[in-house]
């Protein structure tokens, strides 16, 4: 009896352990494989030059540049809006039916397929907003075509729920007792939020921001038709007032994730350019992993701090 009970337990526990092990092995295999296959391609030249010879040689600098530029643009659009919206929802909007509904909708939006955002980006940002801007401003075809601005806006809408949800979680984690203490000392609502709630929620908010950046950098589907380019002979930069160089948000751009997709599926010689594909994948992985690792470490610290508090 006793023995039988133990055997069943040992068996199923072993199964669970096996699953965990399998996941570990899979992660290590993916990372190891990409690393081994990609490391050979990585060189200073690869990182700092543009593709050449019909994209069969050369580096991926424009794609790195484009990825950094678009994620920066995205976070600049999404973070202030998302954080302010979360502060409003959590601190001002109350707990009524309407607020609950909105929260559920936002939660749900986080699970909407990214290609749907791509559809929205093309239909709304490029064709609706862009074309109408052109019509009103008489700018010909300036805004109404795929561009970094629209791709970034699409990604911004995609990560908006992520930012709102993580920010709200961070705000909720600030104990009521601290709010009461601040009010008890005669703080106004905003003083309470700014001096007590936001400082405590900051690591949580930053974690959400980093995760969003990493998510944005890794997404491909939303930018397929909103601004990513197969190949661009120039960087998407322009000179402000003819002197100050800046990112040109109205230009198209190359992007790491899109580059992998294109090179692996539509390049003229897929097998010949494998090293470039692995190299690009390695760079993209390194980028997103650095970001994710940062977010994970930050969250661990944040949780620890909360537990102590």
């Amino acid at each position: 009896m006793k023995l039988g009970r133990n055997i069943v337990g040992v068996f199923f526990e072993g199964l669970c352990r096996g699953c965990a092990l399998l996941v570990c092995v899979a992660v290590l295999a993916i990372l190891g494989f990409i690393f081994v296959k990609g490391a050979g391609s990585i060189s200073w030249d690869f990182l700092s030059t543009a593709p050449s010879d019909g994209m069969t040689h050369g580096g991926i600098f424009p794609a790195i540049f484009g990825t950094v530029a678009i994620t920066l643009l995205m976070i600049v659009m999404a973070l202030p809006l998302g954080v302010a919206a979360a502060v409003y929802l959590n601190e001002y909007a109350g707990r009524g039916r309407g607020a609950r509904f909105i929260r559920a909708a936002i939660n749900n939006l986080a699970g909407v397929p990214s290609i749907v955002f791509g559809l929205f980006g093309v239909g709304f940002f490029v064709l609706f907003v862009g074309r109408n801007l052109d019509r009103v401003l008489q700018t010909g075809l300036l805004f109404g075509q795929p561009a970094m601005l629209w791709a970034a806006a699409t990604l911004a809408v995609l990560v908006l729920p992520v930012i709102i949800v993580t920010t709200e979680e961070a705000l909720k984690a600030v104990p009521l007792s601290h709010r009461e203490a601040a009010y008890g000392l005669g703080a106004t609502r905003w003083q309470m939020i700014r001096r007590v709630v936001l400082p405590q929620a900051l690591p949580g908010i930053l974690t959400g921001a980093i995760l969003s950046i990493s998510r944005g950098a890794g997404e491909t589907a939303p930018i397929l038709f909103t601004g990513a380019a197969y190949f661009l002979p120039r960087l998407p930069v322009t000179k402000l007032f003819g002197a100050i160089p800046m990112i040109n948000p109205l230009d198209q751009f190359m992007e790491l994730a899109y580059h992998i997709f294109i090179m692996a599926t539509q390049s003229t010689n897929v097998e010949l350019t494998r090293p470039i594909q692995y190299g690009t994948a390695l760079v993209l992985l390194a980028l997103t992993f650095t970001l994710n690792l940062g977010a994970i470490l930050m969250r661990i610290r944040f949780r620890r701090k909360l537990r102590r508090a």
Binding site: S177, E180, A181, A182, Y183, L185, G186, Q200, R308
Partner: protein
């Protein structure tokens, strides 16, 4: 019977006037009237859930920050309604400080905790801030223990020290009233004793209202005591009288431990 006990020479600081208090539809206080004198300690005792916290949170209107509440009746501070139309809540809460049941220091340094209120209210002068920090910590009998580590995190203090830090933090905005909601319930006997000493020192300068579960504590620190049950005030009199010759049978049962 519900007027101030004769022992208090000063005029009443707080007047609670037939106060009904509702959380949503649930009524927590029923026609409570109570005059609380200045410069002494008034204790509120009673079984848990009888409305002690509700009453003192009604005085500085902190009960309404996380609840949807409704009241009838009034609470007056120096004769003026705290529920009046033009009441400045910020100013009200500055004048009526509060110490909560669980110590709730902010996860900041000791100094930042004490100076949180003064900075809110626009004190910028460094010397002045230093002075406020030192006097407040002195008053809360914490200065000697923390003077060398003012920039350490408040979370590193013991529970009793944290609670005295919260008292210092409340005192730093120079309140007139100090509300304490079971300030010792999360502390050990030593921490409790230190807080009681602190209260003893403070009572000549402030109007202190303390909610406590601990009958001995009420007897030790307060001059008047109010006994509550089920949202109603049962008896309110000089502490000595309440604990020696209570007028009500319910009070006697409670303080002799026959229930509660």
């Amino acid at each position: 019977m519900n007027t101030a006990p004769a022992i208090a020479p000063q005029p009443d600081k707080i007047e609670v006037q037939s106060l009904d208090y509702f959380y949503g539809t649930e009524q927590a206080l029923f026609g409570v009237s109570m005059d609380i004198p200045d410069k002494q300690v008034t204790a509120i005792i009673g079984p848990s859930g009888c409305g002690k916290s509700t009453l003192i949170k009604a005085i500085n209107r902190i009960g309404e920050i996380s609840n949807d509440i409704r009241i009838h009746g009034d609470v007056r501070l120096d004769g003026a309604s705290v529920y009046g139309k033009s009441v400045n809540l910020v100013e009200l809460r500055r004048r009526v400080g509060m110490v909560f049941q669980k110590p709730n220091p902010f996860p900041k340094s000791i100094l930042e905790n004490v100076l949180f209120g003064p900075k809110l209210h626009g004190v910028k002068d460094r010397d002045r801030l230093e002075e406020i920090a030192e006097t407040s910590l002195h008053k809360a009998a914490l200065w000697n223990e923390v003077k060398d580590k003012l920039n350490k995190s408040a979370m590193e203090l013991s529970g009793g020290q944290q609670q005295r830090l919260c008292i210092a933090r409340a005192l730093a905005v120079d309140p007139e009233v100090l509300l304490m909601d079971e300030p010792c319930s999360a502390l050990d006997p030593i921490g409790t004793a230190r807080i009681e000493e602190t209260i003893e020192v403070l009572k000549d300068q402030y109007c202190i209202v303390i909610v406590t579960h601990n009958m001995q504590q009420a007897a030790r620190v307060s001059q008047s005591t109010a006994f509550f049950m089920k949202g109603k005030i049962i008896e309110y009199d000089d502490t000595e009288k309440i604990f020696t010759t209570p007028a009500e049978k319910l009070t006697e049962d409670y303080i002799t431990g026959r229930f509660g």
